[in-house]
């Protein structure tokens, strides 16, 4: 049993779903994504949580250029695989009350995108990683610009150009690494063993950093994000925020820091400072947002900034925090965008000032919204807490001042999220919100699952931490050893 099963199931599914029409496409996509989830579960059950890479597949692809279809799953990849296998069926479920034109194409693109992301999360070959990286981008471009909002054409082309620029720079860096490797290969493990000089590693660091910083996005490369999140169809936003931005974070863990440890050693402070600027900046902008979906988009920049800051601190605790927080953030942000999707499609507005008192007419909805809000602001016993706690303790062990600034996310987040909750849900109902119907059917199911996950992971995160524990420890130790080698 190899990881290729996991990668190619969505590809085949996408090809089949293309031929279904309307609601049949919906059901087919759901069935296939559930099958993928089950498959991921089987992989998880057979997974041995040590530092080795398992379920490896190595097939010559372009052997002349040292390119192999080389993929496998270790603890870090396992979490990412779980994240995407879990979220895609949920996201498909959230679309059950929507009718999309050309539904077959819509769901096929979502499944194809999932395959691209799985390639990214499991690739152990530079070329394969790049191909997966782009293969995930093309579908989301079409999802956003075919089914998106008013300004979609301008916004999505900006998004595409932004990310494509970053990834081309990364491609140049990958080719450079290939040419430096004595065996002329794109194999990641050979890249790890390269002995490059500090200037070389600095260049590699910045080339990868650019690609990943655009994807996450970090300040000052975030300008595509709020517009794209707002204009994309709800499911597209969830795919982008829930899974796709984790490609950038995963890239930092797997590629950026281990490939250029000396470059990282030189510039980690710049990276952390950029992350923290992003946290404060995005939080302040989030205060002022009138559109709920846009507010959530900015809050996502802030939360990702914290993950990135904790990661660039590169401690065992911080990296573990990043792993679990990626999962939690994915779950919470999908929930949050779904909440706004429900509000937006019922009331035809997302203006926070026009809403209020929904809790009175829709109690079930109110409970779900509250739990997701609490998860997002990282209240203890919710999933957000454990991740942010670990991330902050990682940063704390490096520099107290940085930790204090990073900690602002939690405070700011609480302020703008609770304020949003208050003005949307509490107070008196007005003429618009009085007509709000409580959630039912698939909506209850999705929000129920999300709330359950928020609480379960919040109370007992150990099984998830355990999955990535050994792999993270090994990776952090290995790279830390490399800094120490050069230091006197």
């Amino acid at each position: 049993m190899t990881v290729s099963l996991l990668i190619f199931l969505p590809v085949i599914a996408a090809a089949l779903v293309l031929f279904f029409k309307n609601s049949a496409a919906k059901h087919a996509a759901l069935v296939f994504s559930l099958a993928e989830l089950v498959l991921a579960g089987v992989f998880l059950s057979k997974f041995v949580p040590n530092a080795t890479t398992q379920f490896m597949v190595v097939v010559p692809w372009i052997p002349k250029f040292g390119i192999y279809f080389n993929a496998g799953i270790d603890g870090i990849s396992m979490i990412m695989v779980l994240l995407s296998a879990l979220l895609v069926p949920l996201i498909i479920l959230t679309t059950y009350k929507h009718e999309y034109k050309n539904a077959g194409a819509f769901y096929a693109l979502i499944l194809f995108m999932q395959a691209g992301m799985l390639v990214v999360f499991t690739a152990l070959d530079g070329f394969l990683f790049y191909v997966g990286w782009e293969a995930a981008l093309i579908p989301i471009y079409f999802i956003c610009s075919l089914w998106g909002g008013q300004n979609r054409i301008k916004v999505t082309i900006k998004f595409f150009i932004y990310t494509f620029s970053g990834s081309l720079i990364m491609l140049v860096a990958l080719i450079y690494l290939y040419l430096q490797s004595p065996e002329k290969t794109y194999d990641l493990s050979h890249f790890y063993n390269l002995k490059l000089s500090i200037p070389q590693q600095s260049l590699i660091f910045w080339a990868f950093f650019l690609a990943f910083a655009i994807k996450m996005p970090l300040f000052p490369f975030h300008t595509w994000q709020p517009d794209t999140y707002t204009e994309a169809p709800p499911a597209g936003t969830m795919m982008l925020a829930g899974i796709m931005l984790k490609m950038g974070i995963y890239g930092v863990i797997r590629w950026l820091i281990p490939l250029a440890p000396l470059g990282y050693d030189r510039y980690w402070d710049t990276a952390i400072v950029l992350s923290i600027i992003g946290i404060v900046y995005a939080s302040i902008i989030a205060f002022r947002q009138k559109d709920g979906k846009r507010l959530v988009a900015y809050s996502s920049i802030a939360h990702v900034g914290l993950i990135s800051a904790g990661l660039f601190a590169w401690t065992y605790l911080g990296a573990q925090g990043a792993m679990i927080q990626m999962l939690s953030h994915g779950i919470n942000i999908v929930g949050m965008f779904f909440i706004w999707d429900i509000i937006g499609s019922r009331l035809n507005t997302r203006e926070i000032s026009q809403l209020g008192g929904i809790a009175k007419v829709a109690p079930k909805f109110a409970i779900a919204f509250l739990i997701i809000t609490l998860g997002t602001i990282a209240l203890p016993l919710t999933n957000g807490f454990i991740g942010e706690f670990l991330l902050l303790s990682g940063i704390f062990s490096i520099n107290i001042l940085l930790a204090i600034f990073s900690g602002l996310t939690m405070i700011f987040g609480a302020v703008y999220m609770l304020r949003m909750y208050k003005s949307v849900m509490q107070g008196e109902t007005n003429a618009l919100t009085a007509t709000f119907k409580d959630i039912s059917g698939s909506e209850v199911l999705v929000l129920g699952i999300i709330c359950a996950l928020i609480i379960v992971i919040g109370i007992y995160p150990q099984p998830i931490l355990h999955i990535s524990d050994a792999a993270v420890k090994q990776l952090v130790d290995q790279t830390t050893m490399k800094f120490n080698e050069v230091k006197p």
Partner: protein, 460 residues
Amino acid sequence: MITLIIISTVPILLLYLGLYKAQKSLLPVTLIGLLAALGFAIAQWNTSAQPIYSGMMLFDNFSVAFSAVTIISTILIVLLSRGYFEKISSHVAEYYAIILFSLTGIIMMVSYYNLVMLFIGIETMSVSLYILAGIKKTDFASNEAALKYFLMGAFSTGFLLFGIALIYGSSGSFSLEAIRNWVLNSDPHHIDPMFYAGILLIIVGLCFKVGAAPFHFWTPDVYEGSPTLITAFMSTVVKTAAFAAFLRLFSECFQPVADFWVPVVLVITIVTLFIGNLTALYQQSFKRMLAFSSISHAGYLLFAIVALGASSANSVFTYATAYSIASIIAFGGLILVQQQSGNDNFDSFNGLGKKNPFLALVITVAMLSLAGIPLTAGFIGKFFMFSGALLQFHVVMVILAVVNAIISIFYYFRVIVAMYFRDADRDELVVPVYYKLVLGLAAIATIAIGVYPGLITGFI
């Protein structure tokens, strides 16, 4: 060498068929001739090739690969021409015949082993093209195209010939092998300046033919004025052949003195990339955009010559194949749209995605391939080019090329945006079966090469 004989005799047969009004048999005879030629070419693959005809030609794997790709592209274009030439003129046999004559020259260009053959090949090809460009006799733009092409082409051939003469003057031979030996045996610091002048003149002549800046001024007008299918032929088959000729000459003969000419070609490459891309951005006509983008693709292809090495031939072959297939789709789609709407602006593609999903899909694949997006053949081509250039430490050039690749997204995606995201009242286009076949096959080939490049990278 049966390939060359078949391709040069079939057109004579076609002319007779035309004389006896056997219009129906023209296309089948052309196709059979081309397929036979292709078969004989491929049969030569991986046989130990020796120079033939007193060292005039060498039909090695390089020649087989480039003959194959030019013949296949021609087959695709000829298939698209069903019903196309009849609309323009009543002398249909001549079109097929002249296209094949042109292909004869092209086969010589990809398999020459002597500068005389290079010149004969280029002339055979060019003279046929001058006629083809002006084949819409009553059309003003077509006449302009032919005249411009002829004047510029003749001028550039003059440069080429002068360069060949200077090379002959210093090395004493036209044979590639003899020139190479002469270069290898002489001290690079004491080579006659006449030889270097010859190299420069040959670069000028060949850059004219491939449409590289600053010798590109004929391209947009000629491409726009010629009948669309002829433009497709010029920008795919002819460009591929010119690059094959360029590459063979420089890798066989001039590699030892690369220090001298690489800076020249490097500057040409960068200028070509920027001029092609930046001008393409401002075009309103799809056809003119393709013309300018073909200039920028010439820039990417020049990478292989700047970074001359063992893998250059493979890079050019892959890139040229990817580019040819994608261009044929683009021009094929353009012909259909043009027939319906009467113009070739981007606007005339509006709403195509709804009415003709198949056509829109294949054009999208072509645009993605031209833009170099992974999982299409175009990406593999760009990837090889970038790898080759980085291998020779042309880092700045690659960064500039990346900038250009990003710019090109704007204009290639304009077509996709027009087809899918803009609505327009339009009727469904009737896509003839031949078009479906050719465009479908080309799109499948584009993706197949993109997913598994091993399909073609083993050729050379």
